[in-house]
């Protein structure tokens, strides 16, 4: 007796579990039961679990019967001629979809010649083991799996052409790569994905150290490559606002705000606004500049306040360019929202060249940031006059064991020299032996190394340097978005400490662990200075130990416990003063006992 569960609920029992499971499967293959049904015979628990639920992940496999795949050459020929379709194969029981549960019962062969008697299924292609992004890594079967994870991740972060209709779209914070290229070494999946939407460029690489500027995965980039347009990109950010209606007949106003409006900043911030209160296209703007002038009615009007003079002061709710960003107004759209309100969108574009600190990656998880941009005359060159576009350090290779990275460079070199595309599909790729022979035939050393000369001295390097062509992607992490520093700036109202985060022009926090380092070094006074950001002087009563009051009208400090007690100025952090007040709020009365310091 074996329990049978349908989608997790018990529906009955069967006597012969194995036979039952088999009959369900054969019924599905013959088309008697829906092909969406999966059956899992859990021998350990002695249960049968049937699954028909939606949203299961399933994948197709070729059925193997008696040690032979059901898919025959006949099927293939019919597929080619168009007589059969994929869905027909499923109907015929040649291909079936397995879910995670039924896979437990399946014994899947990778390739047809691996099939033994007890195999139940055959992989359509070994590439199906991987996802879309992972299978786009060329020579992926030569890389450790952990590096494939990363290589797959960096591809998602790469700039490229994300949609062909990008010109008509207004997506938030988008990077577009100028002149994306089709990789020289590409996998089968890349072809399906489409060459139009590729996301990187083919560059000449050399593997050598360069004065330590490419230490720890940093990249050296040839300036002349950048000057010729390598990896240039445009950054788009749309700003949106809506002319809202409020209860009571109040309404937002799109206009050039008057100076008496609450929150009005400098006049120059509004200088680009047209008469309608909206900026015009192709205007160069910087952080803080107003794109759409807007005023809103005051909020939270009480009954009494409605009659006071302050009631009519409107607030400035203009849309401004984010702090630290700048660019050119790309497009202005004035339209109507779903609710029938006026909707205004302003798209700002910024043209970006690669700069020091921008992040790049190959497809093997070998990512790095630009460490230095070197003038072309200082770059190394080969006898044939080839100057590499980027130089990365050999130290990143052995410990990460990304052999595929090296083979891709080799394949790229062959592809560039022979003027063809190299197939790097994992498990079916062109072998490195073949590539080496071809490279030799093309007149290069078969291991990909070349004699290079130092650009600064003109001397030949003692070692032969590995030079190849690789597909490198520019990732969306750029310094322009992240660089920030401040000497002084806004502070938080409550704590009087500097604000946090780049958007608020915040400071860089000296945190708990950094504090520990100061203590460990014994630099007590330096630490005190660093924590002085919220320094305050409080008047402390000598008698009762409470914080006193400073009467600036009489220029005199006193304590609330009696005007005659002595109060002394004490320097402390504002956060501590807050803490004392919080203690009082908890009905704990802290007293400060004063004592001469020395």
């Amino acid at each position: 007796m074996t329990d049978v569960y349908l989608n997790g609920g018990l529906i009955g029992t069967v006597d012969d579990a194995a036979k039952f499971a088999e009959s369900v499967i054969s019924g599905r293959r013959e088309g008697k039961v829906t092909s969406l049904l999966n059956v899992y015979h859990n021998k350990k628990e002695d249960t049968i679990r049937l699954w028909t639920e939606r949203d299961r992940v399933r994948r197709p496999l070729i059925v193997v019967r008696d040690g032979k795949p059901v898919l025959t050459d006949e099927h293939m020929a019919k597929l080619k001629s168009g007589e059969l379709k994929w869905s027909d194969l499923v109907k015929l029981g040649v291909v079936e979809y397995l879910d995670a549960a039924e896979e437990e019962n399946a014994y899947v062969a990778m390739t047809p010649n691996q099939i033994k008697k007890n195999h139940t299924h055959l992989e359509i292609d070994p590439i199906a083991v991987f996802g879309i992004c992972t299978s786009m890594v060329p020579y992926a079967n030569f890389d450790p799996s952990s590096k494939l994870n990363r290589g797959q991740k960096t591809q998602k972060q790469a700039m490229g052409c994300y949609a062909l209709n990008f010109w008509n779209r207004m997506d938030t914070a988008i990077n577009l790569l100028h002149y994306p290229q089709v990789p020289l070494v590409k996998s089968f999946t890349q072809q399906i994905y489409g060459d139009a939407l590729s996301s990187g460029q083919n560059v000449v690489i050399a593997v050598i150290g360069f004065d330590g500027y490419n230490i720890n995965d940093a990249l050296i980039v040839n300036r002349s490559s950048i000057d010729r347009g390598l990896w240039r990109s445009t950054y788009y950010r749309p700003y949106v606002t809506e002319k809202l209606r409020y209860p009571g007949g109040q309404i937002d106003d799109i206009c050039i705000p008057q100076k008496d409006v609450q929150g009005y900043t400098l006049e120059k911030d509004y200088r680009f606004l047209g008469e309608d209160g909206v900026i015009a296209p192709e205007v160069e703007v910087g952080g803080g500049d107003v794109l759409i002038g807007k005023t809103s009615p005051p909020r939270f009007l009480g009954k009494l306040e409605a009659f006071s003079a302050a009631a009519n002061i409107r607030k400035d709710t203009s849309v401004r360019v984010r702090y630290g960003e700048h660019g050119i107004v790309n497009k202005v759209i004035v339209t109507e929202s779903e609710d029938g309100q006026v909707l205004i969108k302003v798209d700002v574009r910024e043209y970006r060249k690669p700069e020091i600190g921008d992040k790049f990656s190959s497809r093997h998880g070998q990512k790095g940031v630009i460490g230095r941009i070197v003038p072309p005359e200082d770059m190394m060159f080969s006898a044939s006059g080839i100057v590499p576009d980027i130089v990365f350090s050999p130290n990143g290779l052995p410990k990460r064991m990304t052999v595929g990275h090296i083979i891709e460079a080799l394949g790229g070199k062959v592809g560039a020299l022979a003027g063809r595309s190299v197939d790097g599909t994992l498990f079916h790729s062109e072998g490195s032996d073949k590539l080496r022979q071809e490279l030799l035939a093309l007149g290069f050393r078969n291991d990909g190394t070349e004699v290079l000369y130092d650009g600064r001295t003109g001397r030949q390097y003692h070692a032969k340097i590995f030079v190849g062509n690789m597909y490198y992607m520019r990732l969306k992490h750029q310094v322009a978005d992240k660089l920030q520093a401040r000497a002084r700036g806004p502070i938080a109202l409550l704590t009087r400490q500097p604000t946090e985060g780049k958007a608020k022009e915040g400071g860089l926090r000296l945190g708990e662990m950094e504090k520990d380092c100061f203590v460990a070094h014994g630099s007590a006074l330096l630490m005190k200075e660093r924590f002085d950001s919220d320094k305050t002087i409080q008047w402390i009563c000598e008698k009762c130990g409470a914080v006193g009051v400073f009467d600036s009208y009489r220029a005199k400090a006193y304590c609330l416990c009696g005007e005659k007690t002595k109060v002394e100025p004490v320097e402390m952090s504002y956060a501590f003063k807050l803490f004392l007040e919080e203690l009082r709020a908890m009905h704990i009365r802290p007293k400060l006992m004063l004592k001469d310091k020395y």
């Binding site: 203590v519 070094h521 952090s573 501590f576 001469d596 020395y598």
Partner: protein, 394 residues
């Protein structure tokens, strides 16, 4: 440092007393190299100089440096915790979990384990060690019995034994019978042709079943708590690694060398061997983990932790119940876990915070009494009446 002057006897550093171990070593080297008296004295001076120079500077924040020195490799350890060390089936917790266990002073370690050293003739061969190892290991009735069967008709349990199995564990049928008599009250225990029959008076099958399960777990021979033993060869001698710890009973076994036998249960060591031994076990256990992970930490850091944990004569954990609860400053205690409790208690008693240590001074943003913040300026005031006299009490 100034060049020491031979004739100047009142230099403070020359008065310095060196540890006996160093002096003995000096004496030994002097003898070996046949040094003259004056050469020896020069060497002694140099030794004192170096000894002074190697001492930690006053005001050095040793605690923070220790915390950082152990904390930094600790962050890397979290990434590879699944490592175990030990032989085959004896897996001993190591890595970060073990360090946390030691610092928290867990009463029972996750994997209590002992290293039992043996006296001379017994540690020479595997056979000898095996013999003792078998005696030490706790044996339960379920392992010994060849058959435990319930008889439902007359509510009894029949136990059958294998003679060879019994002699291998140095137990006799009579011995088992005695133990059963002692342990089982209200049951009729009888011997019956090479086996034992236990009869239950109540006619309840459920109860009989429970009794059967209870009997299976009844300890017959060996030391309690020690569930596995394994003789291992270390440095040319055989010793026994155990799973489960019972230091007291193990030390009472005649063949065991009680001077070297240890356990990884710190609380147990403190109870049986005292605080000094417990301190050493803390050091050994932490060092073992760090070394196994390939992260050498200066032993002085580990020793500082062990010292703090044992300095009061009883063990204190590095938690809010242990050393943190004994800090004198209210603010320092409040800044570490459950601040409300400390603040409220302090207000009830009217505690005064002298603002003497690091955390409090950071809170009020004053120079911390560490490093450059430690020394103060002492000025000898003239004995004249000034207005501010009487205020210089610090």
């Amino acid at each position: 440092m100034e060049k020491p002057n031979d004739s100047n006897n009142d230099s403070a550093w020359l008065e310095l007393e060196l540890p006996e171990k160093l002096l003995a070593e000096l004496e030994k080297t002097a003898k070996e190299r046949k040094l003259s008296e004056s050469q020896k004295n020069k060497m002694l001076e140099e030794l004192k100089k170096r000894y002074l120079a190697s001492q930690v500077t006053p005001g050095e924040a040793v605690g923070i440096i220790t915390a950082q020195s152990i904390g930094e490799p600790g962050t890397q350890m979290t990434m590879r915790t699944h490592h175990f060390v030990g032989v085959a089936e004896l897996n001993v917790t190591l890595g970060l979990p073990r360090i946390i266990e030691v610092l928290d002073l867990r009463k029972e370690p996750k994997t209590p384990s002992m290293l039992i050293y043996l006296k001379s003739p017994h540690n020479q061969s595997r056979e000898a060690a095996d013999k003792i190892s078998n005696r030490i290991r706790q044996v339960v009735l379920g392992e010994l019995a060849k058959e435990i069967s319930m008889n439902i008709t007359d509510y009894s349990i029949l136990l059958k034994f294998d003679r060879e199995e019994l002699s291998a564990h140095h137990v006799s049928l009579d011995g088992i019978f005695d133990i059963l008599l002692k342990q089982l009250h209200g049951y009729a225990v009888e011997k019956q042709d090479g086996g034992i029959v236990i009869k239950q008076k109540e006619k309840e099958i459920k109860k009989l079943y429970k009794l059967k399960e209870k009997i299976k777990e009844l300890p017959i021979a060996g030391i309690k708590e020690i569930s596995h033993t394994l003789p291992i060869n270390r440095g040319g001698e055989w010793l026994i690694q155990t799973f489960g710890s019972n230091l007291k009973s193990a030390m009472l076994v005649d063949e065991v060398d009680e001077t070297r036998t240890t356990t990884n249960n710190i609380v147990e060591v403190a109870q049986i061997l005292g605080i000094e031994a417990a301190r050493q076990v803390i050091i050994d256990e932490i060092t073992k983990v760090l070394e196994e992970q390939g992260m050498p930490v200066d032993p002085r850091h580990v020793m500082l932790i062990a010292d703090i944990m044992s300095q009061n004569g009883e063990l204190r954990s590095i938690t809010r119940h242990g050393i943190t609860s004994q800090k004198s400053s209210v603010l320092a205690r409040a800044s570490f876990e459950i601040p409300l409790k400390h603040l409220i208690n302090a207000s009830v008693v009217g505690e005064v915070d002298q603002l003497r240590s690091v955390v409090e001074n950071i809170m009020i943003n004053q120079a911390v009494p560490v490093g450059t913040g430690l020394p103060g300026l002492v000025v000898k005031m003239k004995e004249t009446e000034t207005k501010r006299k009487g205020k210089h009490d610090s």
